[in-house]
Every structure is written in C-alpha cells, then in structure tokens.
C-alpha cells in the first residue's frame, strides 16, 4: 500500500488509527476466545471483532477512499448493516445448539436457573409473523 503517502497527514493518521483500533479490538476478541473457559463465555468474545472491530476497519476504509477519490464513499455502511444483521444469527444458532446438546446430555444449567429461551418470552400472537 504505497498510496497512503499521497493522503493528507490527518487522513493518513485517522485511517491508521481506525484500522489499528479495529484490529486491536478483534485481537482482544480472539484472545478472549482462547482464554475463556466455557462455551457460553466464549461466545461473547468474538463479537468484539464483529461489531467494534469491523466498525473500525470500515470507518477507516470510508475515510481512506473518500479522501483519495475525493468523493464520499459510503457503501461500507451497507457492509456494516449486513454484518450487524447477520452475525447475531450465527451466534444465536450456535448458543442454542450448545444449550440443547447440554440439556440432552444432562450437563446444562437447570432450566429454572437458565435464562428463558426466546420462545418462552415471545408468545406466538405477538410475533407479527404471519400465522397459518
């Protein structure tokens, strides 16, 4: 990446800061993934990368391309939007799968202690999803 030398200093500094911040947050998330003990704890760590980490990198990208191409480049917002919307899907599925397996094997925290499942909280008539 030679092109960063052509940017004004403030933009170069800002880009560098954002990229490094994003990368650092992702790194922290990765370390957390290794350090935490149980699966339920581990689930939380990588979300750092998926939210703030990617946010930093995307902001850096917006700054860099907007300045270097001298026009507002904002399609990173779309990326951010889709990442934000889809990451929870994976996380929820993983967690629930683990919970089910643990329950099936009798290793799960007791149902009374555990936070209620989403299906427990939201009754069918309140979902707004079409009913047959």
């Amino acid at each position: 990446m030679i092109a960063i030398k052509t940017l004004p200093d403030w933009a170069a500094l800002l880009t560098a800061f954002l990229v490094l911040a994003g990368a650092a947050l992702t790194m922290i998330g990765a370390i957390g993934l290794v350090r935490f003990r149980s699966f339920y704890e581990r689930v939380h760590a990588p979300t750092l990368g998926a939210t703030l980490g990617i946010g930093g990198v995307l902001l850096a990208s917006m700054v860099y391309f907007s300045v270097s191409e001298t026009r507002p480049v904002v399609h990173e917002i779309l990326i951010a939007l889709f990442v934000t919307v889809t990451t929870p899907v994976t996380m929820l599925m993983l967690t629930q799968a683990t919970l089910y397996r643990d329950r099936a094997e009798g290793k799960a925290p007791k149902i009374t202690d555990a936070p209620p499942l989403p299906a427990d909280v939201i009754t069918p008539d309140r979902t707004g999803v079409r009913q047959d």
């Binding site: 099936a104 989403p118 999803v129």
Partner: protein
C-alpha cells in the same frame, strides 16, 4: 451389360420395404398382407429371372454406393452365379412359403406380424447372399439371426417357443460375432473388405500367418449357423416355430447361410490341410450323429430337424474335402436339399394341421385319409433317402463318389466311404420310417382331429417342390444343369471341373454304396420298428449326450455363477472401495510417465523423482529468489495457508467419527483457498470458490443427517485388519495428495513463456466486449466448453435427484436426532400443533432475519449477474447466490413451509438454462456467423445509464438459470428426504397401532 444398379438395389430393399409396410397394416388384413408378401417374393424372383441371361453368360452384376469410402467400406451388391442361385431359392421358396403360410396360420394369429418378420428375414437372407462387402455380409448375417429369433418365438405365449428362440439367437449370434472377427482378419490380410478383391486374392489368405485364426473364427460362425455338431442342438429346439418358418428357415435359407459362406470362401480358404481337418471331421460327425438321432425322433418335425442337421453335415463334409468336384456336389446338394426338405416340412405341417398331432407314434394309416399329401411326402422322402430317379440320388451319388477319392492321405480319409455308407443307411431308415409309420400301418383312431387333404392352395407349394425333385431326378440335364453350372461357376470360376449329371454312370463303386445304403437302411428300419413304436423318447445310446443340457449348463455358468464370481471379485456396493479404486488408478496414471521414463525400475524411478524435485525445488532460480517467489513467502499468506493446511489435515483426522467437525474444517480450508485467490488478485475465482464452498458445506451438512451413526465403540473397527485397511488408505491418500500438490507446484514454478492467457487478456475487450477476462472466456471465447459443462452440471443434478428419490436411509438413522426430539417435546407442551414452525421454534430471531434477507440476496444475485461481463460476477456466481437465497429459506422454515409459498421448478430452470444458452449460440447462425459468436454494444438504458449489452449476456443468463436449477434440485432432493422418511414412519406407526388394535379385539 445393362445397368444393374436399380434392379439389384430393388432386389435387396423390396422385402424390407414390404416388411415395414406389412407391419403397419391392421391385424385383420390377412389376405392383403399375404398378397403383399407373395408379390414381393415373386418380384424378387422376377428380378432374378431378368438377370438370368447375364448370369448364365458368366457375368457378375454389381451395384455400389459410397458409404465410408475413406475406410474402404462401401455398400455394395454383387450378384454372381452362386449368389444368384441362392437368391432364386430364397425368393422362390419364399413365395411358396408365403402361399402355404396363408393357409397354415390360424385367423387368431396376427398375420401382419408374421409376414413382416418373414419378409424381413427374406431381405436379410438376400442381403447375406448378394452382399459384395464382408462387413455388410456379417451385418445381414446377424440380421437373419435376429429375424429368426422373432420368427421362432412367433407364438411367444409358449415357453418352449421363447426358450428355443433364445437358444437359437444365442448360438447363432455368438457365431455371427466370431464371424465378424474372422472377416476383419480376412479384410486385414487382403487389404479390402470388397468381396471381389477377396475372391481374387488367390493364395494370399491361406499363406498368411493369421490364416488359422481367421479360419477358426469363420468356421465357428458358419458351423453354428448351419447347426453342425456340437452346435446342432439349437435347431431341434427351434422346431417350436410355426411350420412355414421351419420350411423356410430350417430347410432352405437360414441354416444354409453357413454352408453358403463356406462355399463362398472356398476358393480362397480351402487350399489348406487345416480346412480339411476342421470341416471334414465335423461334417462327418454331424452327418452320422444327425442321421442316427433322426431315426429315433418321435416328433415329425424333430425327425426332419435332425435329418436337416445330417444333410448339412454332408454338405460341410463335401466342402471340407477341398476338391472342386466335391464342391460341385456340395452346391448341388444345397439346392436339392432345399427343395425336398421344404416340401417335407410343408407336408409335416399339413399333417399337424389336419390331424392335430405330430407324434409319429400316434399317427398311422393316413394314406387313406390324405392320399395327395401322402404321395407328395413319399416323393420328397424318397429324394431325402437318395432313391434313384429323384434329385437326392444324384447329389448323393456324387457325394459317395467323392468320399472314395483320396484327399488328405490318412486313416480317416480311408474310412470316409464306410462312414458315408453308414450315414446313407440311417438316412434311408428314417425316411422309410417317416413314410411307413405315418401313412401306412394300422389306421390311427385316437387323433385329435379327423384328417383329410387340405385346401388345394396349401398343397400346391409342396406339390410344386416335390415335382421339382422328380423332374430334376429324372431329367437333370434338361432342368437343373444350367442353374447348377451358373452357381458352380460363381464359386469356382476357372477351377470348374468336368462333371456329369447323368442318372446312370454305369456300375461304379458309388452305385454299389447306394445299393448297400438302400438295402441296409431298409433292414435297419425293419429291425428297429418295434423298438421305435414303443413309448421310448430319444435314441438309445446318445440320450445322455444332450447338447441342450450342456448349453443350458454353460449359460447358467456364464450368466449366473461366473457373473456372480466376477461381481464378487470386481463389483461392490460400497462407495469407499469404488473411490479407493478411482484414486489408486489416478495415482498410477500420474506415476506412469515417471515410471515409463525410468524404464520401470523402482530405483531409477525414485532417482528420476529426485532429479525432478532437485530441478524444480532446488533450482538456482529458487535460491536467488526472483520477484514472484517473494510474493509467495508473504508471512500473512503463509499464516493463512498454515491454517488452511491445519484445517485440511484436521478434516482428514476427524472424518471417521466426527463428520460434522471434519466438514467444518473442510470449509475452513476452502476459505483459505478463497483468501489465496483474493491475495493474488483473482476476485472472480475467490467469489466462486467462496460460494461453492458455502453451497457444498450446507448440502453435505443436510446429507449428514442420513448417515448411519459411527462411534469408536464399534468392535469391528478395532480389529487389526481394520487398522491395516485404514493405514493403507492413509498411504493412498497421502500419495494422491502429495502427487497432486507436486504436479500443481511443478506447473506453477515452471518457466512461463507467452501463454494463451496473455492473448485472451489482450483480446477480451476489443473482441468480447468485456473487461472481465474470466467471464469473457467463459461465455464467449470458450462458450462451447461452457455449454458442455453446464449440460454436464444439469445431468449431474438430475442424477443426484434420481438417486436420492429412491434412497432409503439405514434403520438406525430413521429416528429424529436428539435435539429435534427435545425441541418437539418442549414445543408440544406450549404450542398448538400445526402452527408456522417459526413461532414455536427456537429459530425465531434467525428465521425472521433470514426471511427478510431473501429479497436482498436475490437483488445481490441479479447485481452479480449483470455486472459479470466487466467486473467479478457472472452467470455462475449469480446463479449460486440465487440458490443460496433459497437454501437459507429451506433452513429457516423447512421444506413444507417454503414450498407452500414459493413455486420452484428446478428441472424447468435447468431445461430453460440449457435451451437459452444453446439458442443464443444458434442465434449467431442467423447472422451467418459460426455457432456461439457474440455480438455486443453499449445501450442507453433509462435507469442504469450506459450499459454493455452483449449477446453473451443471454448465454450467461442460461448459465445462471442452469446453475440455480441444478443447485436447488439437489437441495430439494435432500430436503424431501426428511419429509418422506417421517411420512413412512407415520404410516408404519399407524399400521402398528392398527395391528395392535386388531390383536386386542381378538
């Protein structure tokens, strides 16, 4: 010489044309089809008469059409005297048989079918005799086998007819294959398949080193066709055919094809001791055994069948002797046998038709009831026995004379006259028995029907043939000599010897032999009469020697036991061993050039591998690390690769007991590949790889559900043999993997000069109108390849669908997985059944998000597709993305939910895709350009601005549709599996409940 092309062509194709026309006629049109068939036979006969003057003058008529001239193959018709004589017999007796069959076949039988087969057979037989090309001859030869099969099995509701037909087809068609091989060798020796060239090749074939092979193959073909010992057994079994068929095929035509061929090849193949030792003993054995067995048959047609075998043996014996005079006798006997045997078969058919049985023991004293039939049969039978003043006597006399001559000096040659006389005695005995026990003696009282002479037109064909026997026998020089000399000249040409057809040759040894045969035969019959009238079925000595049983055993051995053994040895139902074989062969094929280069010595092979490794890995270029090598060693990429390799190794490690883990790790290594593509600026490949990776992993994941459970507690898995097997598989896998990696590395590091890639990059925009070279190559430069590939993809998808449609999982994977059971239990305590699963489902949040994303992904697919020509994307990528949108819906809502709302018809997408792509390619033809030429230009679209519009876009749309359809089809195939299995489980439980209830009631 008149232009023979049209008449000869008509001669060959008229029967086939009539056969086709007959087959299309209504079943009731008996007279019409009979007239058509008869007139066709007469027309061919008339064409033969038209050619007669030319043939008598010794001319050979030819007609030739170019077929594959560059391979020396032409469609040629060649009519010389011999072929002409046979064509006259085939068409003449054919016409008589048609007339006879018209009255023989009952109104219940389908006349069009019968006459269509008969005409087809006539055409095939004419094809055999007048073919001017060896390959063409074999073709018609096999066609006769086929039509004979159809004719023998005409009454296909009878088991015996079907079995007999199958046996006849197996034996004669196997012979045909052998003959084909023999003809190929002869064609190779002579350098041409044209009969003219072959016949004028002199001693070339006999002197060639491959002569014995050619002789053996041709002999097998001819001997099976002419029912020679030990292949004779099919002919008696073929007697289940309607009698007109026997009269035609098993006297005059089909079985004569073998001896016809031997006579045809006689001038160029007979001048060798091999020829004598193959055909003379076989002919002698057949002559004797056939005649002996014929005496003991109780079925009228069985007797005639064995007698036919015997007479064919006589002809083969004569041809085997190798002297021109014997060949003359053989040809003469072919003609005579055709006349008297056809007549006898017709008589036998009349008796069967009128009396209702063919069992000689039941028949008797029929002379009074049917005097005309009896007279005709007597004349023909006397000819068969070789009684003087009938045609059979003349050729038999020649035969006796020839056996006395010395040919190949040996004990066998010297005993031939005695064998011939013995066979003559048997022949007289069975002929006598036929006449005496059927027409004379005490009148039969227990016949199924009251016998009487049949309609005049049913008698006429037999009468005409019997009359010919008599005329030829009394006045040979006036009747047959011209016909015979034409036929003989056709075979022997300049070799034609002097022969005399006189009835009286003076007191010769041959005459003595005839007298002994007649007297001895009469005595034999009288001696055996009481034995034969008894209820014994079959001959006394050879009853055990049943060729039929041997054949059946051989067939059982071949088609059942050996097939089983082979299947056990080579076949498997297990996917593992099939894949193992595939990989091993791939490794061996990869090693082949290395091993071949090293002269197959393992040490040298290793050395060569070492040298090769040294050259590629340790070359100076590598050490001096030129520019591209630096890029390769970027630490970040190396890290990605390390992860990818770890994933791949882990996948292999876990594949046995933890399939899910293995699958996830496989996805990980796929991601590493994808990142590598991004790294080296191949976004198109990266995108494709990513999507393929996603789809593959998801589809396999869905399939994993149906795999049987594996765990480490299965005892068989811990056996030493199992461990060894896994070790071997590991070794194979490592060899294959390392081999592929080494090959890839060798290709990547080899010196690259100007490649086609540069050329394509240069031309992509000016000629293809696109900036995305990959896409331009796919849809334009290599459009034809792509068309082929998508066709394969579609076929694969349909195959997967077909396989999964009939797939029944193992019992132990029927039950729902624990998690699913758990969830259902949990839900059933809270929610009413039959609701949208998403409400009562742990997938609530995810499900809603996935459904909301559906239009977004579809838009993305369209976007990727549209921009494909200039930027990464295109039909393949777009189609996969579109498919992923659907896969997600299936995952979120289940197959039933999705299919209640969305109509996806993947097979139509596949079809439409192929059609669109092909139609786009064909569109270029309209503009006078070659297939798949692309046109392109920029168009101003209202909303999008300047848009590139290439006709390739429409092609790419086809790719899009096909990829989408194929992927979704596989998805649906897997998804429906679960629906079906639960349905069968429900049914089973309902059944069980019902059974339990009924038990309770009782």
């Amino acid at each position: 010489m008149p232009d023979a092309k049209l008449p000869l062509t008509l001669m060959l194709f008229l029967p086939f044309a009539s056969s086709a026309a007959t087959a299309l006629m209504p079943a009731g049109a008996r007279n019409l089809v009979a007239w058509l068939a008869g007139l066709t036979a007469l027309a061919v006969f008339g064409l033969g008469l038209w050619a007669a003057p030319e043939i008598y003058a010794g001319t050979v008529l030819r007609a030739q059409y170019a077929w594959l001239p560059e391979y020396g193959l032409n469609f040629s018709i060649r009519l010389d005297g011999f072929a002409w004589a046979f064509a006259m017999i085939v068409s003449g007796i054919g016409a008589l048989v048609v007339l006879y069959a018209r009255y023989y076949m009952s109104p219940d039988d389908s006349a069009p079918r019968f006459f269509a087969f008969l005409l087809g057979f006539m055409g095939a037989m004419l094809g055999v005799v007048i073919s001017g090309n060896l390959i063409q001859l074999v073709f018609f030869w096999e066609l006769t086998s086929l039509f004979s099969f159809l004719l023998i099995a005409y009454w296909h509701h009878k088991d015996a007819a079907r079995d007999g037909a199958r046996m006849a087809l197996t034996v004669t068609a196997a012979g045909g294959l052998s003959l084909f091989a023999g003809m190929l060798i002869i064609g190779h020796i002579v350098g041409s398949y044209e009969l003219d060239v072959v016949l004028s090749s002199g001693r070339t074939i006999v002197d060639h080193a491959m002569y014995p092979a050619a002789l053996a193959l041709v002999a097998f073909g001819a001997l099976t066709k002419s029912a020679q010992f030990p292949f004779h057994f099919w002919l008696p079994r073929a007697m289940t055919a309607p009698t007109p068929v026997s009269a035609y095929l098993h006297s005059a035509t089909m079985v004569k094809a073998g001896v016809f061929l031997l006579a045809r090849m006689w001038p160029v193949m007979a001048a060798s001791d091999y020829w004598f030792w193959v055909f003379t003993p076989v002919g002698a054995a057949t002559l004797l055994i056939g005649a002996f067995l014929a005496m003991f048959q109780q079925d009228l047609k069985g007797l005639l069948a064995y007698s036919t075998i015997s007479h064919l043996g006589l002809i083969v014996l004569l041809l085997g002797l190798g002297s021109p005079l014997a060949a003359v006798a053989a040809i003469f006997h072919m003609i005579n046998h055709a006349t008297f045997k056809a007549s006898l078969f017709m008589a036998a058919g009349i008796i069967d038709h009128e009396a209702g049985t063919r069992d000689i023991r039941q028949l008797g004293g029929l002379y009074r009831a049917m005097p005309i039939t009896a007279t005709l049969a007597m004349a023909a039978a006397a000819a068969m026995a070789g009684v003087p003043l009938l045609n059979g006597f003349l050729s038999k006399e020649m035969f006796f004379a020839e056996t006395i001559e010395s040919h190949v000096d040996s004990a066998f040659d010297h005993t031939l006259p005695y064998l011939a006389t013995l066979a003559g005695m048997f022949s007289v005995a069975y002929s006598l028995r036929l006449i005496d026990q059927v027409f004379f003696g005490p009148e039969a009282t227990d016949l199924p029907r009251k016998p009487h002479d049949p309609a005049i037109w049913m008698l006429a064909p037999a009468a005409l043939l019997a009359l010919m026997c008599l005329l030829v026998g009394v006045l040979p020089t006036w009747t047959i000599s011209g016909f015979l000399s034409a036929a003989v000249f056709g075979v022997l040409g300049a070799l034609t010897p002097e022969y005399s057809l006189a009835v009286w040759h003076g007191l010769t040894p041959a005459l003595l032999m005839s007298v002994v045969a007649l007297g001895g035969g009469t005595l034999t019959y009288l001696g055996l009469k009481d034995y034969l009238s008894g209820a014994v079925e079959g001959p006394p000595l050879l009853r055990r020697l049943s060729g039929k049983r041997l054949f059946e055993r051989a067939i059982a051995m071949l088609s059942w036991r050996w097939a089983r053994v082979l299947e056990e040895l080579l076949g498997t139902n297990r996917l593992q061993s099939q894949l193992r074989a595939l990989v091993v062969i791939m490794v061996l094929a990869g090693c082949w050039p290395l091993l071949a280069g090293a002269g197959f010595s393992p040490a040298a092979a290793l050395a060569s591998v070492g040298v090769w490794l040294g050259n590629t890995w340790l070359s100076p270029r590598w050490l001096t690390s030129s520019a591209p090598m630096v890029g390769m060693f970027d630490p970040a990429l190396l890290l990605v690769w390390a992860v990818g390799v770890a994933c791949a190794v882990g996948a292999a490690w876990q594949a046995k007991y933890h399939r899910l883990v293995a699958l996830i790790l496989m996805g990980g290594s796929g991601l590493a590949t994808s990142i590598t593509f991004v790294w080296y600026s191949a976004p198109d490949l990266a995108l494709t790889q990513l999507l393929v990776e996603i789809v593959t992993v998801v589809l396999i994941l869905l399939g994993l559900r149906w795999m049987p459970r594996r765990d480490e507690l299965i005892p068989d898995d811990q056996l030493t043999s199992a461990r060894l097997r896994r070790l071997r598989d590991l070794f194979i896998a490592i060899a294959a993997g390392c081999g592929v990696a080494a090959l890839a590395f060798a290709v990547l590091t080899s010196e690259q000069t100007a490649t086609i890639g540069d050329e394509m990059i240069r031309r992509a925009h000016p000629e293809g109108g696109g900036h995305n070279v990959v896409n331009v190559i796919l849809v334009d430069f290599r459009g034809f390849d792509t068309l082929g590939e998508i066709t394969v993809l579609g076929a694969v998808a349909i195959t997967v669908f077909a396989l999964l449609r009939r797939f029944r999982p193992a019992r132990d994977s029927f039950a729902a997985p624990d998690q699913k059971r758990f969830q259902t239990e949990y839900d059933s305590t809270r929610y009413a059944p039959g609701k949208d699963p998403i409400n009562a489902h742990y997938m609530l949040v995810q499900g809603v998000i996935i459904r909301l994303l559906f239009p977004v992904i579809c838009a993305m697919a369209a976007f990727l597709f549209m921009r494909g020509h200039d930027l990464p994307g295109g039909g393949f990528i777009g189609g996969l993305t579109f498919a992923i949108a659907f896969i997600l819906q299936y995952i979120a809502g289940g197959a039933r939910w999705v299919e209640d709302r969305l109509v996806v018809l993947p097979v139509r997408w596949i079809g439409a895709g192929i059609l669109l792509a092909a139609a786009t390619g064909l569109g270029a033809l309209l503009f006078g350009r070659p297939f798949l030429t692309t046109a392109f230009r920029y168009v101003e679209l209202p909303l999008f601005g300047k848009t590139p519009m290439a006709s390739a876009l429409s092609f790419d749309l086809g790719v899009f549709a096909l990829v989408f359809g194929a992927t979704v089809l596989m998805l649906i195939a897997i998804a429906h599996q679960s629906i079906r299995v639960y349905r069968t489980m429900e049914k089973a439980s309902v059944r069980e409940k019902a059974a339990a209830r009924s038990r309770g009631d009782v």
